[in-house]
Point group: C2
Chain length 467, copies 2
């Protein structure tokens, strides 16, 4: 029997987020969405991640309207979003009432598949979003955030997957955000998950280190059910494998792939032209970040170190900082080097080297992390490190969001005062108050004919986000 391999197209969310700083306008996405809807994908990832923030902040677009417009032109294929667990599409934990309302409204406006993750794999940060999405009758991909460390073993991921299954997710989803999942581990991880969890398995891998195609192929050999791809002209580099290439390769091996390559080709041609308009954001290097495989330090983090050390006239300490990253990461129980923990670890490592002593100066973020406010670290933190960093302060044992007061009533009131016109506007405000307020003000001025949409040429600096 021929096994069918399902494809999720992530071009319009993660593809543009990875390659074009998430700056692509809805009007440029819609013609692609309309065609992709007819191409046979299992789902189209079109929302979430950084798109929400960037719509409001830089494009002066209503992210909810984008979702509805996409749903309108792409009614046949399930629409998917990436959701950062209790962080939703923002950068801090939101209280449960906001999370509940957000997931409900996302479902009501068109999301059919929720891909829900937490950088620390603390399922307590995912459980509310999962349960609301399930209550709304939607499909949930419960994510394993992949990283490499002595504690991130196959058994570790199987354990997280079991917790996700208990929470009712439909699919176990591996998220290799840094592009460091080797083909060998991809094979073993998928094989073990298929054997032990008995749920469909999905793989999302970035091509950053030029491994993703190989990892997808080995994952397929191990039984993976869904892989993520981009249309070729918005694929590769820091994004994902090309749909056309993976479809060709897998069909050659005899797998069933129901993607219409003629449609994809049309979309590829179209997106190639669109890409030119966003040239100033198209800054990904033309070579793989293979260094991350040698030192486990992603290229973006490394360039940041070099810049900061130069500023401090201490470039000779780069090797020391690299080693310190590994030590800090170990101290903190091996958080993955992805947003936000990459910033937390990186900044502290720099301070430890530049301030002439480890943890002489400690950032607020590291303190909060050690207190458990981001969630449970992958491995326990040693008592002496805890003492060094937070002294006698207490570590929370509860779910971080349990400490948060409900916010929805308060921010609803404030939102309408700030210019919100709908429950969706209210959510935009609850997540990003000042950005949303500015957007509402711009919108009113625009409707009065007193403001123009920002020109793409005016859109400002590249934003670093999880991809």
């Amino acid at each position: 029997m021929t096994k069918k391999i399902n494809f999720t197209d992530v071009t319009l969310r993660d593809g543009q987020q990875s390659l074009l700083a998430t700056r692509v306008r809805t009007e440029d996405l819609l013609p692609a969405a309309e065609k992709l809807d007819k191409a046979g994908f299992w789902s189209l990832e079109v929302w979430g991640g950084a798109t929400f923030d960037v719509c409001l902040r830089y494009l002066k677009e209503d992210p909810w309207e984008r979702l509805r417009k996409i749903k309108e032109v792409a009614p046949n294929t399930p629409l998917e979003m990436l959701l950062r667990g209790q962080n939703l599409v923002g950068y801090r934990h939101y209280p449960d009432d906001v999370v509940e309302e957000f997931v409900k409204k996302a479902a009501d406006n068109g999301i059919d598949v929720f891909r829900i993750f937490d950088a620390l794999n603390d399922v307590r940060n995912m459980e509310v979003a999962i349960s609301v999405a399930k209550e709304k009758g939607k499909t949930v991909k419960g994510v394993l955030s992949y990283t490499i460390s002595p504690v991130h073993t196959i058994e570790y991921y199987v354990n997280v997957a079991k917790q996700l299954k208990d929470l009712g997710v439909d699919i176990i989803s591996i998220k290799d955000q840094a592009g460091i999942l080797s083909p060998k581990v991809a094979y073993e991880l998928v094989k073990t998950l298929k054997d032990e969890i008995k749920l469909p398995v999905h793989l999302h891998a970035q091509t950053t280190a030029a491994m993703a195609e190989m990892s997808c192929l080995k994952a397929v050999e191990a039984g993976v059910d869904i892989i993520d791809t981009d249309v070729s002209t918005w694929s590769w580099l820091t994004a994902h494998p090309a749909a056309e290439t993976m479809a060709y390769v897998l069909k050659e091996f005899g797998y069933q792939v129901d993607i219409d390559l003629n449609i994809i080709e049309e979309v590829a041609e179209y997106l190639k032209e669109v890409r030119k308009k966003y040239k100033k954001y198209d800054t990904a290097e033309k070579w793989p970040d293979s260094e991350v495989l040698i030192h486990q330090i992603p290229g973006g983090m490394m360039s940041n170190f070099i810049a900061q050390l130069k500023e401090n006239d201490a470039l000779d300490k780069l090797d020391e900082v690299k080693k310190e990253v590994a030590r800090v990461r170990e101290d903190l129980g091996y958080p993955p080097l992805v947003t936000p923990t990459s910033q937390i670890v990186g900044t502290q490592a720099l301070l430890n080297v530049l301030q002439g002593g480890r943890y002489k100066v400690v950032t607020k973020e590291v303190k909060d992390y050690v207190k458990g406010l981001y969630g449970r670290p992958p491995a326990p933190i040693k008592p002496e490190i805890i003492g060094k960093i937070i002294g006698d302060e207490e570590i929370i044992q509860v779910r971080p969001a349990d400490l948060l007061e409900p916010e929805l009533d308060k921010c609803t009131k404030e939102a309408y005062e700030a210019g919100a016109k709908s429950p969706e506007d209210v959510l935009s405000y609850c997540l990003f108050p000042s950005v949303a307020k500015e957007f509402f003000e711009w919108r009113e001025a625009y409707e009065r004919g007193e403001a123009l949409p920002p020109q793409i040429e005016e859109l400002s600096e590249k934003q670093e986000c999880d991809t």
Copy 2:
């Protein structure tokens, strides 16, 4: 027992030819060669292909001097060159005396491994070069030029490999110049060659369509002995897989890879800087040419069609031309769409569409091809096509070079008149008379202090070549 996978570094020849139009100067290559020499590669491909022509034509460098200088800084690792069989490093068949002298001098100046190919896999075009290289005690990789067609079956390649083995090659080498070798075929081809030919097998694959990493991995699983890689910062896109990534992936699977990644990392950092100097040649698209997998027409050929059709105000005929390419290719016995046969097929396909009738106008190149002057087509050409194209003219049955008079004496005399100073200069002249003459003249002026080396900013248009 752990199987060792050998790596050949092709950065300094095919890497720069694929990504930087072969324009990188010797002085920029030497520091990399010196370090790569200590990194544990099986060989370093540093010469041949387009480098010879470009040295003389654009860089005003003596290609022989480049080779000697590289040998000087990299004395430990075997140096490899790509040789186009009877075409040597040029674009026409040279008579045997020139071929013999060229191969001897290449060996004398430092080449240890000859990778010898013919685009049509006509081993008669390779036999003289192979036998001279073997007489000189050198290692020969006998190449299978990979393409896709109904006649290019596994059996076809095994048959060519047997002929190469009979000619005494040391290694069977698969050359996937267009990046169209799928992982499935890579596996089957390598497996069959290993079983039936009993020689080491080498794979050279371009990443153009984002398949090469997967194909290398499957080739390794099938028993391949050597793969070709670039240092990461000159890898990927239209070049080859990154050494660092492939080393990491294969080591994870338990293969023995004796590459020193710390040295590679230093070279990667160095080459990243060098690459900036050649920015104007750094024009490869940032996405894979996946279209070639759908239509078998390489991206470069397609852009050429679009340009030519636009010029003739006939862009609406693009689909017709695409189909005509397939028909012409079939008519001509399935030559591969690589230099020079891609140009031969492409031009004729355009003419067939634009001149209002198939073969109403026939190029000299197609006539020569049909007459057998390029070698034996992969499949026999149908009599009616032969009649249409060359009428009653005769098809040669002998080896094409058998028709060529010796040239060495005549061109030696001319070469010294033109300013040659050494037997190596003579060969430069025999291959590229006018280009070499201009170079000799420049060199004399330079030595008199009356000319400067061309600035890289002045180096002219990108050259299309086999890679």
